[in-house]
Amino acid sequence: MEHIVFGIGITALTGALATVAGAAEDTESNIGSQGDPNSQVQLAPQMGFLHRIFNKAVAGEPPAYGLWCALGCGLAWAFMAMQFNAVLAIVLGSVLAVFVQGVYATTAYVGRTASLSKFGQPVYVDILKSMTTVTMAHAFIAIFATVAICQLINGALGHPFPLPLLGLVWGIALGAAGSATGNPYYGKERQYQNQKFGAGVPISASGNIVRYAEAGERNSIDNGWFTAKIGGSASGICFGLIVFLELWRTILFEQVAAGWGAIVVGVLMILVFTVVDRYIEVWARKNYGPYTEAKEASS
């Protein structure tokens, strides 16, 4: 019984850490335009719209976070092998991984933007200085939280995977959850704030991203501030739910009916999310209504 209570406590802690990690990851990737909306940041100068948006997308979020979290976990594991305190080891591992992220962000921004020189897009040194440190700060929170999750899963819950492998697995899952949930909010709702609310961006508008703020030109810190409100928090909830529910069903039900208990609970949870998704879909159709008359659309 004590073992189960301890497991549930650790599960709750990892769920909370995962929520923080997901929110920080999405905000970091939005400040760096690392998700799929980077295509518009790259396209805009080619269409004649020069901008001051940071763009460090030379890899997708999942492999990038897979690398940084595996690096953080590997270094933390090495420090722990050198008899460092676990908390200090996790912090040091995450800090060193963030330096790699900073080098990556710098070279990616300079490289991507320099490739647009023929369209007149400048490389802004002040943008490089101010944005890189902000993405590094957010990346530190995301990596630290993920490395801490992996240490708890490995050390406290006894998962057989070594710490660096757990970092790779959960880093990729973090990037996948964050990019899937957060990208549309940054891509449509922020970059195309000049388009109609409640509709997709017409393909003909591609490249015409919003470049001006309330005062002066918009930069990526403005974008991080905006997307943290819904895109970031939704990504946090998404990754938090994934980590929490995956651990919860295993801790509580793995020993029930020789493993079938966890499977049955997993199936039930999938069914619950299916019902919720269907409810959201039908709610939108009823409350927002069609864009055109059905007859006209089908003709």
Partner: protein
């Protein structure tokens, strides 16, 4: 033939010669394993099954890529290989845990599948949550007039100048099925490699079974992750860009991907097995 003269539909065509070459390569790789390390033939066959499950399963996952991030096309706004890897590796995590608890192999593989399906269910639900409550956009498919499962009409819910947006119900179901297949396939690869390493490593390294276990788990886990990415990326090339799910015409390309996944998994699996056989 010049690029201009090439038929645009060539991307979905099956090439019988290439398929036959693929099958021959697969048989040669299995033959090598049979002669070099006969004990590894069954694990290699099951590794190939795992790879094929991943390759087939990825076709179900609704991936919208960059257009989905602007609400210009339906699907999840990220890459094919990345999303499948995220879901499948979450499944592998659960499966590996069940394997360590000493569960039956069938239970382990199904647990991995459910882990992948659960990750995809949560992600797909949150995608629709953001589209509907964050952006005020309903889900609409650009490939079918009516949702094949619910029968909901789609065309009038597409906003002007787009190919659709969000995840219609059939895409949600496709995502969950894709996660199930991918998670189960990744776990099967891990399980088979783990058994091979657990049996061979104590002899090869002259250590006890208890000492060999962490090495076996680590090596099997790394190879499973690597082979997962190989199969997911191969399938991404087969899909070429975006896919809405099982109702998308691109879904019919899966036989080509299955042959390619079988050959790639056989080669990777052979290398993974031979590190303890030679």
């Amino acid at each position: 033939m010049s690029a201009v003269a090439a038929k645009p539909a060539a991307g979905s065509a099956m090439n019988p010669t290439a398929m036959a070459v693929g099958v021959v390569m697969f048989l040669i790789l299995m033959g090598i394993c049979f002669f070099v390390y006969p004990v590894g033939i069954m694990p290699l066959l099951l590794i190939v099954v795992g790879g094929v499950l991943i390759g087939f399963g990825v076709h179900f996952v609704p991936v919208g890529g960059a257009p989905a991030a602007m609400g210009q096309a339906p699907g999840i706004a990220t890459g094919v290989a990345m999303l499948a890897a995220g879901g499948g590796l979450a499944g592998l995590f659960g499966g590996a845990w069940a394997a360590a608890a000493g569960q039956d192999p069938l239970v382990v593989v199904i647990t991995g599948g459910i882990g992948g399906g659960l990750m995809m269910a949560i992600t797909c639900m949150m995608v629709n949550f953001v589209y509907v409550f964050g952006m005020g956009i309903p889900a609409a498919s650009g490939k079918v007039a009516n949702d094949p499962i619910t029968g909901d009409s789609q065309a009038e819910y597409k906003s002007q100048g787009t190919e659709g947006h969000g995840l219609p119900f059939v895409s949600f179901v496709g995502g969950v099925i894709g996660g199930l297949f991918a998670g189960a396939g990744g776990t099967l690869i891990y399980l088979e490699l783990l058994e091979v390493y657990k049996a061979a490593l104590p002899t090869v390294m002259q250590i006890t079974a208890a000492q060999a276990l962490p090495i076996a788990v680590s090596a099997a886990g790394m190879f499973a992750v690597g082979m997962f990415l190989v199969n997911a990326v191969l399938t991404a090339y087969n899909i070429t860009g975006t896919i809405e799910g099982p109702h998308d015409p691109k879904f019919k390309r899966w036989p080509r991907s299955v042959v390619a996944s079988a050959v790639a998994s056989a080669l990777c699996g052979l290398v993974a097995i031979l590190i303890v056989a030679i």
